[in-house]
């Protein structure tokens, strides 16, 4: 069984290669023909999806054997003195799951875009970027080593940059793209350092080899140093995820990234790219596990981000921004899940979140499309009636994220909370639980305000075309039933786990608590926004400072901007001043001195012939004096002539 599958797995490289081919085709051949471009791109990603599904099925069939022995195909990429890097593909359940999720969401988004991007001038460019993104993301998922992962990691960053700034003529989009790139770059700085230190220590970047090296050397203090060394490396590696997955304090770019086209937000900034950080931590989990401090840190950052972002989401009015903060919050969930040791739960949540968050973003896109680029939820209302498919699927998404059984989010979120509780992190559990409540609250708020309530007369919404609704329906199905993967005997955590596999039974008690928290949130929102029993405005009015802080996202953007504009740019200006007037000034000063002294010396040529004669004779006398009286004394000065160092 495994043998036949092995042959299939060797072809995994085709999955990223197809979109790449499509990118090249669009860029160099079909860019003038809109229809061809999108066809090529969608065909490529659908084929990739097919392959991904085939591989996924193959993985399920291979069963435990594959879990123990991932299929790795690799070739040399760089080979110089002291640095040898391979590039290849790894097929294991984790990468198989990611392949499926990425390919699925990417194909849905690309199909959806057929409707959403209708009439946009940059159509071909859009699909070229989409293909490039699909290539990069799929390539990252298949990476066999850290450097390969980093390369694709940066490439998805590039695609994110290009797609956020897709409407480059919008100043906001341009700035958001820049911000996204630079903020993640800060994280990448740490990641790069981590990679360097790791290679430096273990002479390899291969995940399996690293894992083996670390486990054999962990006891050997002489090689690894103290645990502190591992901790430092783990911290550095974690900086990458902090940037990419928008963990506090590098989360600021993600809400702004919503300036891109909504399908892009769905694909990149909700379902796939932003979870790359989680994926990386999962891949490097052996490193984090070796350092309890680092794990603690990961959990802390994750939990804080979860509640922090959720609290901001409550006070936002922009539909995409609410979703963006929700994404941040959910990413925090995944991260702290990893931190508390709920490895499979985190990745499970990664998958389910991809389904329902992509669904909600696409739904939001459908709404925005229908309302001609209106994004403020207070400008919407009563949309369910006009847009039944969008409304229904969106509602499924809300239920899923709120953790209402049997929707997908319930299963994954519950596992995370259970993991936190059972692994002895009560505070984090509490935070997670409260976040679950907040999540349900603000998502319901969004839903109630935008889809229920009175219609706004100025709006003339209509249901979106089939190209947009079909992906919604498909994703809604996955959001509804995706969580059931937790149920069978060979369930999700059988395939994707860290260390020894220990099947765990559902803890229905804990599950009940989290369901209650979710329902509470929904009810609360219903009470405020549908029943209007308590006026939202009055709450805001009662806590004006809190509201303002939340509405302004804790002013973190402002702080950063101040730092950038005053500290960084100011330093730049100061250094420039120094450069011009001191470093260069010295040079110019020497030049000026030379020219000035030349001008002065020039005056010695007075044109008076008798002066010349006198100077001449005077010089003769002086030289004679030196000669006559300096002999002996002066020759001791002779070495002076030899000064200069070389000799």
């Amino acid at each position: 069984m495994f043998k036949e599958m092995h042959d299939l797995f060797q072809w995994a490289w085709l999955i990223p290669a197809l979109p790449f081919l499509s990118f090249l085709l669009i860029a160099f051949v079909t860019k003038r023909s809109k229809g061809l471009s999108s066809t090529v791109s969608i065909l490529a990603i659908l084929t990739a999806l097919g392959l991904a599904i085939a591989i996924g099925l193959g993985i399920i069939q291979s069963g435990a054997e594959l879990v123990e022995h991932p299929v790795i195909v690799s070739a040399n990429w760089l080979n110089i003195w002291g640095l040898k890097i391979d590039i290849g593909t790894v097929v294991d359940p984790l990468s198989g799951m990611m392949l499926f999720v990425v390919a699925l969401v990417a194909s849905m988004v690309q199909i959806y875009s057929l409707g959403y991007m209708q009439g946009d001038k940059g159509w071909s460019r859009y699909y070229a970027y989409q293909s490039l993104f699909a290539f990069s993301m799929l390539g990252m998922v298949l990476a066999t080593n850290l450097l390969q992962l980093f390369i694709f990691w940066e490439l998805v960053g590039l695609c994110s940059y290009l797609l956020i700034g897709f409407w480059y003529f919008k100043v906001s989009a341009r700035e958001a793209a820049k911000k996204a790139f630079i903020t993640t770059r800060v994280g990448d700085f740490g990641l790069l350092l981590g990679i360097l230190f790791l290679y430096n220590k273990f002479e390899t970047l291969d995940f399996t080899a690293l894992s083996a090296a670390l486990s054999t050397n962990l006891q050997n203090v002489a090689v690894v140093g103290t645990v502190g060394y591992v901790t430092v490396m783990a911290f550095l590696i974690f900086m990458g995820p902090m940037g990419k997955s928008g963990q506090f304090p590098l989360h600021v770019w993600l809400p702004d990234a919503m300036e891109g086209p909504t399908p892009v937000s769905a694909l990149i900034h909700a379902a796939t790219m932003v979870v790359a950080g989680v994926y990386l931590v999962a891949k490097m989990y052996f490193l984090f596990e070796a350092s309890p401090v680092a794990l603690q840190f990961v959990a802390g950052i994750g939990a804080f981000t979860a509640i922090f972002a959720a609290s901001i989401a409550i006070a936002q009015d922009d539909i995409k921004r609410i979703l963006a903060y929700s994404t941040l919050s959910q990413l925090g969930y995944m991260v702290f899940a990893l931190g508390v040791g709920a490895y499979s739960a985190s990745l499970f949540h990664l998958m389910t979140h991809a389904f329902f968050k992509a669904l909600m973003f696409l739904g939001a896109g459908s709404v925005i499309h229908a309302l001609h680029e209106k994004q403020n939820i207070w400008d919407m209302g009563g949309l369910w009636r006009k847009m039944p498919i969008t409304g229904t699927t969106f509602f499924i998404g809300v239920l899923a994220i709120s953790g209402v059984p049997p929707f997908a989010g319930f299963w994954s979120k519950d596992e995370i909370l259970a993991g936190a509780f059972q692994n002895g992190h009560p505070i984090i559990y509490a935070v997670g639980l409260f976040t679950a409540f907040l999540t349900a609250f603000y998502m319901s708020r969004l839903f109630f305000v935008a889809f229920m309530g009175p219609e706004k007369p100025q709006n003339h919404p209509h249901e979106s075309p089939l190209s947009m609704t079909i992906p919604l329906v498909i994703l809604a199905c996955f959001s509804a039933i995706g969580g059931l993967a937790a149920l069978p005997e060979h369930n999700f955590s059988f395939f994707i786990h860290f260390g020894e596999f220990e099947p765990e039974a559902m803890n229905w008690g804990l599950a009940g608590i989290s369901v209650v928290a979710g329902l509470l949130g929904i009810g609360f929102a219903y009470y405020i926004y549908v029943k209007e029993a308590i006026k939202a405005e009055s709450i805001a009015a009662r806590f004006p400072i809190v509201y303002r802080i939340l509405n302004n996202k804790y002013y973190i953007d402002e702080v950063y901007l101040w730092l950038i504009h005053h500290i960084m740019d100011g330093l730049g200006k100061v250094l420039y001043f120094i450069d011009i007037y001191i470093v260069d000034g010295i040079i110019n000063g020497i030049a000026l001195l030379t020219r000035g002294s030349a001008k002065v010396l020039r005056r010695t040529g007075t044109g008076q012939l008798q002066t010349y004669a006198m100077v001449f004779f005077f010089a003769v006398v002086v030289i004679f004096m030196v000669f006559a009286f300096g002999e002996g004394q002066l020759s001791s000065l002779n070495p002076l002539a030899m000064l200069g160092g070389v000799k």
Binding site: T594, R595, S597, A598, K599, L601, R602, T604, G605, G607, L609, T611, Y612, A613, V615, F616, F617, A619, V620, I623, F624, V626, F627, A628, G630, E631, G632, L634, S635, L637, N638, L640, A641, M642, L643, G644, G645, V646, K647
Partner: protein, 481 residues
């Protein structure tokens, strides 16, 4: 002792003297309209002598006559080649310029030849009085040549300045010679060396200083350089060229012989060597610095030639065959580099009647050849590869560094890069300036030949210095084995 073959030793000198007299006579006899032919005549006779001298260099043995009064060695012949080549190029480039002088009387070429003769005597002299006679023959010819534009007050002012200062310096030189004679009873270099031995007295110091000052004046060593810019500026441009190139080289020929045979550091004084290092450094520094603010091309070249004297002194300080080779090599390429520059200056001065640098504006457009030759020549003077000057400087400074003097090498290299600054100012004017109101100045005939020849030699030696280097080493070894 008295047996010597005059044909083997003195042919060039005799031929030159005869030619000078013939030209003088012709100039007096033929009508002014026919005097145009005197330039080619002079040039051809110089070519003839030069060819013989070249033969002389490679095939005639080292001899001397009158007890070493006059030497015929490769060192001397090398310098003769140099003087003759310089004279030839000056004559070739001066045709048009001299024709335009209203009171042109034909003795110009005769004087050039007598000056050349004087230089040759200096190069060959093995004795102080003979050297002095050569020096005065050269200098007196130059007095007249400098003041040749008798209607031009600047020219005559330069003449009188040169005369007074030159005579003062030669009086000082002579005083030194007389002291040497008093100390040793001889004026021959070899006997003087043995006579002075290793004994020092104030008189011997005084004599040395006086002789150094006298010759230093001719090579415009700082602080004896003050005359140079004034005289260079006032003199007719071809004369300036000859003065800058040949008279300086002649003084170096004499100085090398005198210094290496009689006053070098073993025989004389380590202090003296330190002093020379200081003077050479000062010469390089001040010469280059004062050239910076100049606006007159001749004055600029004058200061630059002061600086060049400093570089050449470096080779003497090395006191070795390598050093002398450097001086010889550098002096020869200096002829061509300077000659290129002066040929252009002469040409512009002839066509536009001006020596101001600003009048070179747009020369790259008006006469591309002249601009290119000027650029190459100036850069060769600065020692920028692949031009000959670089190799020359390399020889000089590697010789002196081989002796352990590094500071002077720093000064020399840095100052030659500083010199690029003012050379480039000229280049800038030629290439950037528009010069809309200035006439086109196409180059023709002998002038064009001079420019092209200097240019090609400058580049050729820079790219493939071996032939000249081997001549120079042969000449140096004939003096310092």
């Amino acid at each position: 002792m008295a047996d010597f073959n005059i044909a083997a030793v003195l042919t060039p000198e005799v031929a030159l003297a005869a030619m000078a007299l013939i030209l003088l006579a012709i100039g007096l006899l033929i009508p002014p309209s026919a005097r145009k032919g005197m330039m080619p005549l002079t040039a051809f006779s110089l070519i003839g002598v030069l060819s013989y001298t070249l033969y002389d260099f490679f095939y005639n043995p080292k001899t001397s006559f009158l007890n070493g009064l006059y030497w015929h060695d490769q060192f001397a012949v090398y310098f003769k080649i140099l003087f003759l080549a310089a004279a030839l190029l000056v004559v070739l480039s001066s045709g048009g310029y001299i024709q335009k002088i209203p009171k042109y009387r034909g003795e110009f070429y005769s004087l050039i030849l007598t000056a050349t003769l004087g230089m040759m005597l200096m190069a060959g002299a093995g004795e102080f009085i003979a050297m002095y006679i050569g020096l005065e023959l050269m200098t007196i010819s130059f007095y007249i040549l400098v003041a040749y534009l008798s209607d031009n007050p600047r020219s005559s002012e330069a003449g009188i300045k040169y005369l007074v200062l030159g005579a003062t310096s030669s009086a000082i030189l002579l005083y030194g010679i007389s002291l040497i004679y008093g100390l040793t009873g001889s004026t021959q270099f070899s006997e003087v060396a043995s006579g002075i031995g290793a004994t020092f007295s104030p008189a011997s110091f005084l004599a040395t200083v006086f002789i150094l000052a006298g010759l230093g004046f001719k090579i415009s060593l700082v602080p004896f350089h003050f005359w140079a810019p004034d005289i260079y500026e006032g003199a007719p441009t071809p004369v300036t060229a000859f003065l800058a190139i040949a008279s300086k080289a002649a003084a170096f020929a004499a100085l090398i012989r005198v210094y290496l045979l009689t006053m070098n550091s073993q025989a004389f004084s380590a202090t003296g060597q330190t002093l020379l290092v200081v003077l050479a450094s000062l010469t390089m520094i001040l010469g280059n610095l004062m050239a910076i603010p100049q606006t007159n091309i001749k004055r600029l070249l004058a200061y630059s030639s002061v600086a060049q004297a400093g570089y050449l002194m470096v080779g003497i300080i090395a006191e070795s065959a390598a050093g002398v080779r450097g001086v010889l090599f550098y002096a020869m390429i200096y002829v061509f580099a300077n000659m290129g520059a002066f040929a252009v200056a002469t040409h512009v001065s002839e066509k536009q009647g001006s020596d101001e640098i600003r009048d070179f504006a747009g020369l790259a457009r008006r006469s591309p050849l002249a601009a290119v030759v000027m650029t190459a020549s100036l850069l060769s003077l600065a020692g920028i590869p692949p031009l000959a000057g670089f190799v020359g400087k390399f020889y000089l400074f590697s010789a002196v560094m081989g002796k352990g003097y590094t500071a002077i090498a720093y000064i020399g290299f840095v100052m030659s890069m500083v010199s690029v600054y003012y050379y480039l100012l000229v280049v800038k004017v030629m290439f950037l300036g528009e010069g809309e109101d200035l006439p086109d100045v196409p180059v023709h005939g002998a002038t064009k030949f001079t420019m092209l020849f200097s240019f090609i030699i400058t580049i050729a030696i820079g790219l493939y210095p071996t032939p000249l280097a081997q001549m120079a080493i042969a000449a140096a070894q004939s003096l310092v084995p």
